[in-house]
Symmetry: D2
Subunit: 356 residues, 4 copies
């Protein structure tokens, strides 16, 4: 179903080329002042076309709030909002009506529902992440009031062959990544990533990448064993992002080759408080936050839409080829950064509300 | 909360050293004959103490079914079952009452609830996975009737420095892994893993590892966009297993360094059916199965319980040290194999029932 | 929360005087052709101002579909729709800002959320039932395809002192009630009810009433024990309607004074099929439909908004009086008829989808 | 499904003649001391065989707690408990295997699941309410700590032709009803009810009745609009009780014949606090408690099991007759009193936890 969360629920709707996309955020705390300009900025961060690197469809997105606010303050009623689809030249997609694009959801969706919205990916378009960013901005505003110390920061940690050093994750969490087009906290690496993407555009190809996210300031004791663990809820949310192929937290897959004596985080006292000497665990034990920063990484596959010719089949079972026309975004990873932050804010607010 | 699933729900309960652990499986199809001996065997696969490699607590687990069956056939009513805890020498854990074990859930749980069951990890013990295996066995029996071609197979793909070749995953899916103590389909590698674990036992240390799972025979069209994607539901279930640190499917984190031209799975016709030339996607597109085998990998951290002395603190904030006494399992990964299979069966049956 | 249902979920949003009200219907079957004109008509049935009897605010409601449809056919994606609020003279309600209207939700809501949308009842306005009627029309269209024999029919069975004869319920289910302003199947009684309402308008007073609903054509075997019984789900949905005070099915409260020998529905054979001689049960046994018509009745209190002067208090605890200005609807019962039908369609479709 | 609640969930399981019945209570607050003797007494109140009036099967029920408690204190982990079925002479029911008892769930269940547990009603037996009473006792203990002023009191308000005066409901809430076998607060009426039941037993017949419930001490502001209203949640829970045919709160069905000027509860000040002059509303407005006592009434049909001969059919469609053998309880209403109290405690604790 199209609903995320338990006590704080986000229901999203909308297809790439329908009249509008949007969402309903229910269970949101009352009394939160909603700075709509801030929300708009958060949402704009995920849109394509912001630079020479991530060019694509130009979305002049404006969010309209329909309910749940009185004079800009949340009332406890569900907050509904919509974003009109303005740039919907469905005819551009006419040829997609009768064939399945490789590694897109076209075929699977049609097997599931017997029908699919073939216009620009329909419900499977990356555009469906826009409402997530609106809701994430609202969750962030709520934290500003109920847990002011909380800081959620994501950044691009890998694009193709270029990766940041995981040892510097906490340092990177303090860097403004909006200064470069790929949202990488290491400027030199960012420059290489940008060049790589430009080359891929010329080659009509695309690349995958990773986003790392750090949550600081979450107190210990937030989370719900056994099946709604904090990390499990984060994993579920992240795997819901288009093109996501993996999730790891703390030392993640690296833990598989570690020894216990190396991985364990020894407890110690610091200023009268219990803390840990290291944070291989990534801030969560047994599904519950332990007061240390939460650290996780999300992997994305390369954008499946490429200009190169690929083999595929038609709906009626005829082999053919396809080559995407026009300009395509060779790398969605920088645009996933605000989506990861937004989902993190939503998941943590939901768990926070149920752990109080 | 302690419930997994939407239409097929598993609610588990029980602590390591309470009277019993168990579960309630609701939404299970009626008319399924339950071979209790098969269920018992499935559950026994996850228990420690099966070999010289994975020795530890001897659990003589017997599952008792309390409801939902009439003459061994499911009636559609919830199936409840319990496993008595027989080997509970709580006094062994007396010293744990007042201190927090490094990288265990002790501290986080106490911050969450103000109280914790300190006896053997309580609700955070690996023992809580036993009911999952019972329920997974039931789901497998249901598939035997409603989707006989389905085959779910997991195996150990990494222990410490030793990893299987991902290119052979599909081949390994056909191998019986019960022939060696580490459940690795490559016998030579299995031997090295066993030696490695024996060495770690001597060193009073532990190791992490990975489990790979392959699902064959699932038809296209099973899954639910946008927030209940098949891969998201699998990720959530896996991250709920004790010590799990990561989940990836298809090419997973490797996708981050790939190009679209390399990662995309071209469609082609085969015997009149639509199929794909490769399976980098891991059998899922847009949250819905595409008819190809589902392939994913799960990472586990090293067992936090080790015999070496570690720094820690007491509940009242005094620094101290701890060294686990007695024999400890240096590697839980082989025991996680049946748990991964069980959760996969449960998640897929749930999604199958809601996708029909 | 603002979501109804399990597999078919309706999330509604919107306040009386915000920008719009609307809903998201998720889990709706794909492949259903949506006749938007039919939907509009269904929604219009619940609006006030249709006759001299039920005059009030003139709502020129138009429903706009935002998602989930492709060329008018449902795709399986969530169907979102909105209805703009056009007639929102918030200033009319300025005096309500600082006091609590008797038997309205003003006070309770403010105690719950610390803030309330005082404009026209906000989220507690009867206007929030409009999206229910839109969703109910969609559910009815779905039944037209998947269970064509199903017929859901509600009518006004009581207004103040005037009641229809319960013994004629099944006969009334076949009568077109749109021929009179109160939607009562007995035209003579309807006339008396209309006169009664006209008198109440003069007296600045209001009245309660009842709606009876009959469902024919539902096969046996639809429903879910133990806590999601068909009747329990219907009761929950009905009690969610504004001003609803009670729900009974079959012989309802009358059963309390009956004997078993009188109430029991004896089974008998008819044309080779199992049926019952009577239907005191109201078509449901043990939470599951038994193939007989489902029959239930819903009670509504008198509209709390009246022109007579009433005692009340201000937000800062000062005793005062209030008398509603302008024209008010002395009886909402006729308008509740389509809402009862809509919720019935939604609940039964949800249970049907989960009972297949 | 067999789960009640959102944040506090009760999952029940078990059939009349299986090995055991029981439940899992999840989301229960930690730190609550569980007086198991109190719980046992609460559960015993619902069992048959307590007097000459409500004789029937002798159940020597003992509840065993399996999890969620440490030295008698709740830990926040799910609390599982079972009650063994000792008196299960399944052979008594052999003849029921092949026919459907009138107004029992036999036929509907078999249509739903294709199989039914015919032994003593299986999952549809009144025995399934025992776990509800255990969980209700736990909820009551929790309120003892977190909301000590809360008082939930139910009593028998009607049996057949004998009804208590609704005007005295609040007075009756203070009366100990355990002094008579029918749990009626009016001793004279109780005596008539007892005689009536004795007569019915002789006539091999049964009777319906009503239970009224009063909740005092619930502060204003507890509840959740729009679809999870407090009254809607109560209605759903009550309609889940075996044999329940109706729910009304406040003036209920009587409201249908009232005028607004008569029904509205005027606000007034009392000792500096906002209160209402009357309580026709029954303590809830717009789905949220308003600080006044909550008052509702639940109707039960006559026990369908009677000794008189009734017409029915066999599974293979042959008309026959049935007459229940042995002693039968002609009236379950007194036994429903503790069930109503228990469900009320569970619903209100759930809503309380989510409204804080």
């Amino acid at each position: 179903m199209n609903t995320l969360g338990q006590n704080l629920t986000l229901t999203t709707f909308g297809e790439s080329h329908g009249p509008a996309i949007g969402g309903v955020l229910d269970g949101f705390p009352s009394g939160i002042t909603v700075d709509t300009e801030y929300v708009r900025e958060c949402m704009q961060r995920r849109r394509p076309g912001q630079s020479t690197v991530t060019t694509g469809r130009q979305e002049q997105d404006e969010v309209e709030f329909l309910s749940g606010l009185l004079d800009g303050v949340s009332t406890g009623a569900p907050i509904a909002f919509i974003i009109r689809n303005t740039d919907h030249h469905s005819s551009d997609y006419d040829e997609l009506k009768e064939l399945f694009r490789p590694s897109h959801a076209d075929y699977a969706w049609e097997q599931r529902y017997g029908i699919r919205d073939w216009r620009g990916g329909g419900r499977s378009s990356a555009r469906v992440t826009a409402p997530i960013c609106v809701a994430g901005a609202l969750a962030t505003l709520a934290f500003g009031k109920i847990l002011p110390g909380l800081k959620i920061k994501a950044f691009t940690s890998q694009i193709g062959p270029y990766s940041t050093d995981p040892a510097k994750d906490m340092e990177y969490a303090g860097v403004n990544v909006e200064t470069n087009a790929v949202r990488c906290p290491d400027e030199q690496l960012a420059s290489k990533m940008e060049d790589y993407i430009k080359d891929l555009r010329k080659e009509q190809d695309s690349t995958g990448g990773c986003v790392t996210c750090i949550v600081e300031g979450l107190p210990a004791g937030i989370g719900n064993p056994v099946f709604d663990k904090l990390e499990a809820s984060l994993a579920k949310a992240m795997l819901g992002i288009n093109a996501c192929k993996g999730f790891e937290y703390g030392d993640g897959f690296q833990s598989a080759s570690q020894r216990g004596s190396e991985h364990n985080d020894a407890f110690r006292m610091e200023g009268g408080n219990i803390t840990t000497a290291t944070n291989h665990s990534g801030g969560i034990q047994g599904g519950i936050s332990n007061g240390q920063p939460i650290r996780f990484r999300v992997a994305f596959k390369p954008t499946p839409t490429i200009g190169q010719e690929q083999n595929t089949v038609t709906r009626d079972g005829r082999e053919t080829t396809i080559a995407a026309k026009g300009r395509h975004d060779p790398c969605v990873v920088p645009r996933a950064v605000p989506v990861v932050e937004s989902l993190t804010a939503l998941v943590i607010l939901d768990q926070y509300l149920s752990s109080k």
